[in-house]
């Protein structure tokens, strides 16, 4: 059976919007019949990506829109995050050294690394003054 689903979520660049990500994913879990563990991981990947944009993407105090596009084609899930913040390629960031002891471990710098570990594929593109971060994940039931 061929399945194709599509859904969108629009967020303002405000941290409170994260509760909407949570609620949206709960809906998605039911509608697309996705396993709980996957939803937890998607929530984490999205939180890390979106908070990066919110905290570092803008210099002004204006309200900006972050558009998140969800597609499911059979067992392949694709999430595309689009924002109009500064050009920033998170995939180019070097991975943290996870073997360091607590005293030597820097505080932070873990978010992007978590996304890369959780998702199967992470791609960045800059088009028409917008950042596009595309995350792929194969659904295992």
């Amino acid at each position: 059976m061929n399945t194709h689903y599509h859904k969108q979520l629009t967020l303002r660049n405000r941290v409170e919007e994260l509760t909407r990500v949570e609620a949206f994913l709960e809906e998605l879990a039911t509608e697309w019949d996705l396993p709980v563990k996957l939803i937890l991981n998607l929530n984490l990947a999205l939180e890390e990506a979106v908070t990066n944009i919110m905290f570092y993407g803008y210099d002004d105090e204006e309200v900006h829109t972050i558009l998140i596009d969800f597609t499911r084609q059979d067992d392949l899930l694709t999430i595309s995050i689009m924002d109009d913040g500064h050009a920033y390629d998170p995939t180019a960031r070097p991975d943290p050294d996870i073997t360091l002891a607590a005293e030597d471990r820097p505080i932070g710098g873990l978010g992007i690394f978590l996304i890369k570990k959780i998702m199967d594929q992470v791609e960045y593109e800059r088009k028409e003054n917008k950042n596009y971060l595309t995350l792929n994940k194969r659904i295992e039931q």
Binding site: K37, L40, N43, L44, E103, R105
Partner: protein, 111 residues
């Protein structure tokens, strides 16, 4: 997120219920740091009812670890759900922290 704080011998035990994400990490940090400010040196965080953690939450755990080891205190975690344990494993945090399967084991310091 809800926190339940109890005392067990030389330890303060903090039971976290819910999520430690970007919106809740500050509240979690200030609650636990205030325990340390009040003189608590030995701390156990019971994660049985912790069902979500992001890098903001992990950051707080690292802050607490640095803070307590800086004053020769003890910082232990217990009862992590498999999904949470996995995030700790991915981040390399499983080797940084002393993680125990049960409260009793965490109190005794025996894995």
């Amino acid at each position: 997120m809800k926190l339940e704080i109890t005392t067990s011998g030389e330890f303060k035990m903090v039971k976290v219920n819910g999520r430690i994400d970007t919106t809740r990490a500050v509240e979690f940090e200030s609650a636990v740091v205030s325990l340390i400010d009040q003189g608590c040196k030995n701390l156990i965080i019971n994660c049985f009812d912790l069902n979500y953690i992001s890098s903001s939450g992990l950051r707080v755990f690292l802050v607490l670890q640095k803070r307590l080891s800086g004053q020769q205190g003890i910082f232990r975690l217990c009862c992590l759900q498999p999904e949470i344990q996995e995030i700790f494993d991915i981040s390399g945090f499983s080797t940084i922290f002393q993680i125990f399967p049960t409260e009793e084991a965490a109190l005794a310091g025996e894995k």
